[in-house]
Symmetry: C2
Subunit: 459 residues, 2 copies
């Protein structure tokens, strides 16, 4: 008798739960030097779990700069089969403030259908559903139709400082046709969804210099360019009245939202009041002609992250400041290129800033946006897998920021699809992080279906 | 034989020099608590000198809040005569950096025609020329035609914190028809001039609040108002493209520059390159349609004195700041009223700032501008006195900032005229402060002539 994937998963979730309980007891806080050994222990635990699940090659990978180790596992089926890299991470966020946890963060506790612990959904639970999914697929189908490579990072919660270098070093071994990222969530409990794109970024510091020293604003006020005033005028000129970014060429490479994506995005049950409450803000404001979800996910932006210059103490000091500064970041969407945006920003600032001022610009990093369009075969395959698991239509989202996903897409030159089952109220990074156990089972199911779907991927 | 004032002054400058030498040796640094007793000693020295010069009533006036004492002297001629208050100050600036002085700051040293010491021109020399002027007038004319009141402050160099209160307390005794301020200078060595107006000020701090906490600019960027961006847009909106201030009503009470004043101001040998060098700046920038001298003296302004918000450390932090702040000051010209400008600024900010932000405004103090128009009889009288002393035409200037002069004009409700003989290169507040001795003699002469001129003042 041939069991179904659903039946197999249901009959074996206790193994997923037992593994998760064991792994979550390892406090792999990457940000805390005192937990350095725990992060390594977590990597070794993951390696052992991957070996048990039938991966032939399992290695703990050291990262550069004495960073935390990643885990790599490989299961080869055939050179003629598509190859998939599954990405997740085994490090977790700090737990402060500890007193707000209803049960200790590293003593996994089930209440109702949820399991509470630091790392439950971000990201140990979502790594582990892949192991049960693989077991189910093997049990039900006999074999899966893709070569599977799993990469579990240990530094995601500290900004993946060594991840891009690791990917470049191991580019050959990580060669693949598609990347599956399991570190995200669905829109809400009733709305299964998949992220299809993440914004990139260009981050600049602008230093504006006027007089060599602070001037008395009585003697000189009104007669010379004031760096703080002129910086403010420059910042104001970043956007027009419609809140479009005014920098020439900024939008040239932006892939317009398709009518179909806009329709599907509009079908998401977005609760603007609740979102504003999350934002601790009282009003939306953004680019004319786009919804809030489009503005924060699918449109590029210019934001001031910091601004300073002149006197900032108590009371009054009547000066024209000698200098003024701003941190300005640009969120990018496909197919904007960080290096082109940087050049456009530099040219615009030089052309826009008032005469009589000197300026310098420093750019930090630069992250490419990534987008796998919803009609891409990999996205369609993942959609079918998710729809089969959840039994309902799957919608699409975009993420406003990006982490290692951009590195994966750029270095591995493969489309990225997001298979995640987190919920908006899972409290990632906060006290009482949890995972909804029935959705971990859905994740395992979806993973099992996905390998069948991806086996048909045009290569 | 009737001597001339000039001859008398020339024959007795040694007394002025000897007095000045003695007074300058008292280090009356009001900013330094260690020199507290010296400031008092300086007041007592001045009181004694005023007594010697024939003032009937001489008093050391205590100020409020345990401040430094002022000196008051009165010489009454007749109830039917106009009354003049002469204002100066006996405290001096600190002397750091001491190593840059070519001779010790409190050991007056004559080199060429200049006497070097802290306080030489600011303001002890300019107080003392009045005493020689009075002696000369009495010697040559037998009597002067005005009642003379002298007020020598001890806290001018620390911002006159108790001066307005002192004026209010002694308003009755200080009742007068005109105030003569001797604490300024002339345009340059070859261009005798008189200041006729000083700008006032309104100083505001603006606090803008957006989200309750810093937000992740990836998740929320482009969707909610950013306090730093919106503050910058507000600051930018302070001026239009012509650099006029845009706040409704701001210019309503501004007394336009007369054609005659503009012509006379244009006749000043203003060296813009040298002025820019002083400003340590490389370009002028200001209100269209006005010269630099007009912009910094006779036109109101809006200047950012400080701005801050969000992340200001090294590298990048991707936040939408929860708040942003600016210090913004407005220089006022006659007849703008600080309280009206404050109300206009408050209304404009409330109407201009983007929705979804909360803001607070705090105003510090508020100084009235003062202006005695050049056709005012007191200005004309002082002009004739200066022209007689210098033997050449006298031009007019405006000062961009103001100190106790605004208090004098406002509390005493009298026109203020400026009789000063400092030079632009006298290095007030800097090492090697000096006074040009021949011009102290011109000051004494002009003072003697002034009492005759003011005797004719319509009352």
């Amino acid at each position: 008798m041939t069991e179904t994937v659903r039946d197999y998963v249901a009959a074996h979730t206790h193994r997923l739960h037992a593994d998760l309980d064991a792994w979550l007891r390892i406090p792999s806080i990457s940000a805390d030097p005192e937990h350095r050994a725990d992060v390594r222990r977590s990597a070794e635990w993951a390696a052992e779990a991957l070996r048990r699940s039938g991966f032939e090659t399992v290695e703990v990978w050291e990262t550069g700069n004495d960073g935390h180790p990643a885990v790599y596992a490989e299961r080869h089926v055939g050179d003629d089969k598509p190859t998939v890299v599954v990405y997740g991470h085994h490090d977790v966020q700090p737990v402060d403030p500890l007193e707000l946890w209803e049960s200790p963060p590293f003593e996994p506790t089930i209440r109702g259908d949820d399991l509470y612990a630091r790392g439950a959904v971000d990201d140990k639970g979502q790594v582990l559903f892949h192991l049960l999914g693989l077991e189910a697929a093997l049990a039900v189908y006999g074999e899966i139709g893709v070569n599977l490579k799993v990469l579990v990072e240990g530094e995601e919660e500290i900004g993946s400082p060594n991840f891009a270098a690791l990917l470049r070093r191991e580019r050959e071994r990580l060669r693949c046709d598609v990347v599956v990222v399991s570190d995200t969530g669905i829109f809400d409990k009733d709305t299964p969804s998949m992220c299809i794109g993440m914004r990139g970024m260009v981050y600049a510091q602008l230093d504006v210099y006027g007089p060599r020293v602070d001037l008395h604003s009585g003697s000189f006020g009104g007669g010379v360019p004031n760096p703080a005033t002129e910086l403010a005028r420059l910042v104001a000129a970043l956007h027009d009245d419609q809140r479009h970014v005014t920098i020439p060429g900024f939008y040239d490479r932006v892939v317009p939202l398709s009518e179909r994506e806009r329709e599907l995005m509009a079908a998401l049950p977005f609760d603007e009041a609740a979102w504003l409450d999350d934002a601790a803000s009282t009003a939306t404001l953004g680019e004319a002609g786009y919804s809030t979800l489009e503005r924060v996910g699918a449109r590029p932006t210019a934001e001031v992250n910091g601004i300073w210059g002149g006197y900032t103490g108590a009371g009054q000091k009547t000066i024209i400041p000698a200098d003024a500064h701003a941190k300005i970041s640009f969120r990018l969407v496909a197919d904007q290129r960080p290096e082109e945006v940087e050049a456009a920003v530099r040219a615009w600032v030089a052309a826009t800033l008032a005469d009589g001022l000197r300026h310098e610009m420093t750019f930090f990093g630069g992250v490419r946006p990534c987008l796998t369009p919803l009609d891409h075969p990999a996205v369609q395959a993942a959609t079918r897998a998710m729809e089969q698991a959840f039994g309902t239509r799957v919608l699409y989202t975009r993420e406003g920021g990006s982490g290692p996903e951009a590195d994966l897409a750029e270095v591995l030159e493969a489309p990225v699809v997001f298979l995640g089952v987190g919920l908006p109220d899972d409290r990632i990074h906060s006290p009482n992080e949890k995972v909804h156990l029935p959705y971990l089972a859905k994740g395992a199911e979806a993973a099992a279906y996905l390998w069948r779907e991806l086996a048909e991927l045009p290569r």
